[in-house]
Structure formats: C-alpha cells, structure tokens
C-alpha cells in the first residue's frame, strides 16, 4: 500500500513536472511542423548521428541541380538495382542457383506474369525491361526510406513526377511507334460516332491521359509522405506533450505503422507498375 502510494506520487510529480516544463519552454521551442518537414523534405546536408555532412550545391543556368539527400538516395537505389540484377542473375544453366537470385526470381516472375503478360499478352516481352526497372527502382527507393538516417526519395514530388512523366511519354510514344502518328490520335475516338463529337472528345481523352499520369505521381508521393508523417507525428507527440508516459502508447503505434509501411512500399510499387502497364497497353493495343 505504501509502495503504491509512493509510486502514484512519483507519477503525478513526473507529469506535473512535464507540464511545467512545457509551459516554460513553449515560447522558444521549434514547432513540431518544422521538425516533421525537416525529416521528410529535402535537405542540403546528410545527417548521420548528428554529424552533418554538407552536400555540394550548384546551379546550372538558374536550375538548382545541387546534390541533396534525395539525390543521394536516388543514386543509391539505382546502384543497388544495378548490382543486384547484374551480379545476381548471371547463370549459364536452366535452373538458377544462389540466394540472391532465389530471392528475387519469384518477384521478377510475378512482375512478368501478373503485370506485363496480363496487360500485353505474350508480345509484351519488349516492354519487360522497362516495367521491371520501374518496379524495382520504386521498390528499392521505398524500402531504403525505412532504414534509419536515410530518406525516401519517392516522398519528393519531383521524383514521382519524373517517373510519371516517363510513363506519360511511353503512353503516347508506344502508340505512335505502333500505329503511326495520326492513327494514334484517331484511336482515342470510338468508331462510328459523328465527326464533331470526335473532335470534342479528342482533347478530353488527351487530358485524360495527363490526368492519369498526374494521379500516378500524386498517388506514390502521397502514400510515401503520409506514412512517414504519421510515424513522425506519433513519436513527436511524446516531445510535444513533454510526458514520457505517452511513449507507452505512442511507440507501439509507430511500430505498427512502420510494419504497415513495409507492406505499403511493395503495394505502391506494384500499383504504379500495374497502372502504367494498363495505360500503356490501352494505347498500344488501340483503345477502341
């Protein structure tokens, strides 16, 4: 009984102390929003265990081409994809051997069968390198963001915008290459309707393709950014409330969101690749 009393007294004292500290330090403290934006956004320095490495900043005719943290993550993901698929997939026999190959081969077969062959049929073999590259590049970028002291490159709207722009170019370019320049635009209009309705429909369909690519960009960006924001908000709640017992509920919740983030990394890579394949196959095969 005495122990319980003293324990509850200690708890009350700790919470009261925390409240006092919050009242005193509320004026000259950095806000939670700035901390969250600093962790998710792009910074010009690389931070490891409070060791800040400044990264080179340079401009090229007014365009800011400085090497920021997200650029380093992009390069790291590209190097990892290159290393895994160059050295893991060299064999001279029918049956693959080795742990790296055995780990990635089902995923490659999954992308080939469920994404490319389902949308293009067997003739989609020419598109396989593009979709495999897109899938594994996005997957590695998403998964690298979950490692401490590294950032998610896909939570930068420029990165996802560039990926969606590549998909947009391929949507129209594959159609032009296959059907010819004027037939490609004519494929957007269903056959057997009056010419003036077709003339109004054509810009709408072209805007539709841009809207779909824009949705691809925003979907990947919002998923990755929101996941990290939720984790940072949960953990920042401990600091904002100046109370360590919030951590009993906050840390398991952040852990669950972290596990969900791993699943979302795979899911968003799959959805980006699948929808790109769907849109490209729609113009490649002639939608109408």
């Amino acid at each position: 009984m005495n122990i319980l009393n003293s324990l509850s007294n200690n708890l009350l004292y700790l919470t009261y102390q925390g409240h006092e500290v919050a009242q005193h330090a509320a004026e000259n403290e950095e806000k939670l929003g700035d901390v969250v934006l600093h962790h998710i956004g792009d910074t010009h320095e690389f931070e490891i265990f409070s060791l800040k490495l400044p990264l080179p900043e340079f401009e090229f005719f007014g365009i800011d081409l400085s090497i920021t943290k997200h650029v380093v993550m992009l390069w790291l993901a590209a190097v990892l994809v290159f290393l895994v698929f160059n050295y893991g997939f060299r064999w001279n026999r029918m049956v693959p051997k080795g742990k790296l190959t055995g780990f990635f081969e089902p995923i490659v077969v999954f992308v080939r069968d469920e994404i490319v062959y389902m949308n293009f049929g067997k003739e989609g073999k020419n598109f396989l390198p593009f979709f495999l590259t897109v899938f594994f590049f996005i997957l590695f970028m998403n998964l690298l963001g979950l490692i401490p002291f590294m950032a998610t490159a896909t939570s930068n709207v420029s990165v996802t915008g560039a990926l969606a722009a590549v998909s947009f170019i391929l949507i129209h370019f594959s159609g032009i290459m296959r059907h010819g320049f004027f037939k490609h635009w004519r494929n957007f209009i269903p056959p057997g309707i009056p010419w003036w309705i077709g003339l109004i429909m054509l810009p709408l369909e072209i805007i539709g393709t841009t809207g779909r690519s824009f949705a691809l960009c925003i979907r990947l960006f919002a998923s990755m950014t929101a996941g990290h924001m939720v984790i940072l908000a949960f953990l920042g709640l401990i600091i904002v409330l100046h109370n360590i017992f919030v951590g009993l509920f906050s840390v398991p919740a952040a852990l669950i969101v972290f596990i969900l983030e791993i699943f979302f990394a795979f899911l968003q890579a799959y959805i980006f690749t699948f929808l790109s394949a769907l849109f490209i196959s729609m113009t490649y095969h002639g939608a109408h």
């Binding site: 929003g33 969250v36 934006l37 949705a215 925003i218 979907r219 919002a222 998923s223 950014t225 929101a226 924001m229 899911l267 968003q268 959805i271 699948f274």
Partner: protein, 79 residues
Amino acid sequence: MEGITNIGLGYLSAALGAGMVAWGAGLGISRIAAAACEGIARQPEAAGDIRISMLITAAMIEVIGLIGAVSCIMMALRT
C-alpha cells in the same frame, strides 16, 4: 466575435478537412471490403482474384484520402 482570427479559421478548416477526408476514405474502402467478402463467400475458389482486385482498388481510393490529408497538413503547417 473578435476571437475569431484568420489564422484560427485556417487551423479550423485544416482540421475539419482532414477529418472529413478520413470519413470519406473510410466509407469507400469499407464498401470495397464488404463487396469482396461477399464475393469470396459466394465463390471461395475465386478468392485469389478477388483479393488482388480488393487490394488494388483499396489502394487507389486510399490515395484520395491521403491527398486530402496531405493538403490539410500542408495548410496547417504553413498557417
């Protein structure tokens, strides 16, 4: 009415927006889950296809919720 400032209205709208977006996304995805469960109950051998379609459409609708939430967060952090 002097207590209502522009900054207060900004925060209020951001919070209301985030809540309403969560409501919309939750309604949408729950309907997908209900239809998927019903489909699997009718035809258990199609469970694989139904599961894939459910995940894809749930991710697409969830992104609309996330777009609203991220816009509200941007607005709240810049107010």
